[in-house]
Amino acid sequence: MFDFSYDYCDHLTYLNLLAQRMGVPLVDNTLWLPAGIGSGYIKVVQLTNGIQVLFNECTIHQAFNVRRQAGDGHGLTLRFDDIRNLQSLSVKIGEELIEDATPVYSGAYLTNNAASLQYTINEGIQDNCVNLYFNTQWFKQYAGIGQHDDFWEAALTAPVAAIYFEVLTLEYRELMEEIFELKPSHPVYMAALQNRAMLMLEKFLRGLYRKINNPAYGYGVPEDELKRMMQIEALLVSHLGVAPPPVSELAKIAMMSVTKLKTTFKKVYQHGLYEYYQKNRMLKARHLLTTKKATVKEVGIELGFKNLSNFTIAFKKEFNILPSQV
């Protein structure tokens, strides 16, 4: 078991403390996990607009037990996590205890540092995450919220630490992926990183704003069902090159009837199962065409289209332009 406790601080200080505790040096604000503890990296970048972004792609080889003291309530962290191979997770925020044992967790939530935090997580988990760190003052200035101040104030200083939750959809995943793929040699690395981080923040704030204006706004799905939907979503998006399992099989995995699965999924992800799979495939196609300079044929094949004209038609339907025009 890897034990780590620290006082609330910014991400860069946190990373330094963590590196010390693991007994490894930081290189370019990047911590490469030592073999006994895990594999992969954790990196922090101070963006030029004043916030810090922490991101990691790692697998841990030991169970982790982390404790953090409460802070002044003005520190905010927006977390985007995509965790696989979960067996047991327990999170204690202040006095509130959350336990989870479903294998996939993929969600976004905003926390403030008003309460203490403690979490324990099993060995073997694979975590891809992007965290944005800022404070309430930065937030008010930067977001330029002006006339809606009261709403935001209420939201950001809420006594509960986890104030709003959203599932990760492919739009988020795509931005996360782009952050992981950015090379420091990119000609405008800082700008590219900042833009993606800010797009994630913007998307999240939109949901938060809706929630604040309408407290009843949410998925309208019990928490355990929401968790099962995350498992289903992960199955759909993990292999975009092969046809997804049939609905009957997905229903078994989700432990609900086919009809119930269809309606619940639609409530959470706004699209039908197949439609969601297809949309994600097209987003992936656009991503490959724009960032990887892959040919239309290569992309079509990678995404499992046997017939390229079907790919072209599907792409055109989604984005209103031909893949060759991207």
Partner: protein, 331 residues
């Protein structure tokens, strides 16, 4: 004639000046509406951050328009993403060098700096749709996380008007521009929304600028001067479709390059052989004309230099896998 002497200023003052010149009322909002007899359309100016301003333009003026910007010590840049359907003529000039466009769809991303004297002249009744982002050197260097404006940027600016056709607007630019146009007044995140998209446009432009700068010097091994000569060839090709383009031999004399070298380096820089590049441009132009709804197939064929409409139809079909008639039906 309308002459606008642009100085970098806050959005309200800018709108006020514009409204006065064009002779339309200004009500203190972030936009002015242009109504007859001045013309039609809308101009919107929004300060999204300190020293970062977004201008949205969708207008057709009924008078000859001249916009100019004099050099200043406080360094500012303008990134112009513009679609100008030049029916008569448009003239862009930087530091005394001019670029004239006639009968073409000028759809490019270009960067200007107030290091030089800049001007643009657009004849009356020309539809202009543009997203322009203005920012200071201080803002840019801070945003990019560098101490000085980069070498690629300086090289680009030194090309003056020669650089103006280097970056055509493609689907991705147009998508971002559309998103900016789709901004909603009641959006509580309006500012963040606009800023994020403006910076995405800047990011994309600079990324590609660097890629090209690197490409041009390392891979192609062409001198700055040779590239300029290629740009000249490209401009001649893109200028006027009603007449047949000069022959390769004529080009090669014009730019003092052997025809083998010209063909080879043109293909490396523009990705197509000279003739297929010309053909592509012509068909793009024809497509734009057809999509505008104001041209019949015969007129479009004529505008891009086809005497025989049937030849035009088959060339169009070859390029877009759709007949011009089918395209018209869709709109």
């Amino acid at each position: 004639m309308i002459i606008l002497d642009l100085k970098h200023t806050d959005s309200k003052t800018l709108l006020q000046t514009l409204a006065q010149l064009i002779n339309v009322p200004y009500h203190g909002a972030d936009y002015i509406a242009i109504t007859p007899p001045a013309g039609t359309g809308i101009i919107k100016v929004i300060d999204v951050a300190e020293e970062l301003q977004v201008l949205l333009i969708d207008v057709t003026l009924n008078k000859y328009f001249v916009g100019k910007r004099s050099p200043g010590n406080h360094h500012f840049y303008g990134l112009h993403f513009e679609q100008v359907l030049v029916t008569d003529a448009a003239i862009f000039s930087v530091d005394g060098e001019t670029l004239q466009k006639k009968n073409t769809l000028h759809a490019v991303a270009r960067l200007t700096s107030n290091m030089f004297y800049n001007s643009e002249e657009i004849t009356a009744h020309t539809p202009v749709k543009a997203v322009k982002v203005f920012f200071s050197e201080r803002w840019l260097t801070h945003y990019l996380g560098v101490n000085n404006a980069t070498e690629a940027l300086r090289q680009y600016l030194m090309l003056k008007t020669e650089s103006f056709d280097m970056e055509p607007l493609d689907a991705e630019y147009l998508r971002l521009m559309d998103e900016i146009w789709a901004v909603r007044k009641d959006d509580p995140l309006q500012n963040m929304y606009l800023r994020n998209r403006a910076t995405l446009l800047i990011e994309r432009f600079f990324t590609r600028l660097h890629q090209k700068a690197g490409m041009v010097h390392r891979v192609f091994n062409l001198s700055e001067d040779e590239i300029q000569r290629l740009i000249k060839v490209e401009q001649l090709l893109a200028g006027d479709f009603t007449e047949a383009p000069p022959t390769i031999d004529a080009f090669s004399k014009m730019v003092s390059m052997s025809s083998t070298k010209l063909k080879k380096s043109f293909k490396e820089v523009y990705g197509n052989s000279i003739y297929s590049y010309y053909q592509k441009l012509r068909m793009e132009r024809a497509r734009e004309l057809l999509l505008s709804g104001d041209f019949s197939i015969r007129q479009a064929a004529k505008a891009v230099g086809y005497v025989n409409t049937a030849n035009f139809i088959s060339a169009f079909k070859k390029q877009y896998s759709v007949l011009p008639g089918e395209l018209i039906e869709k709109i």
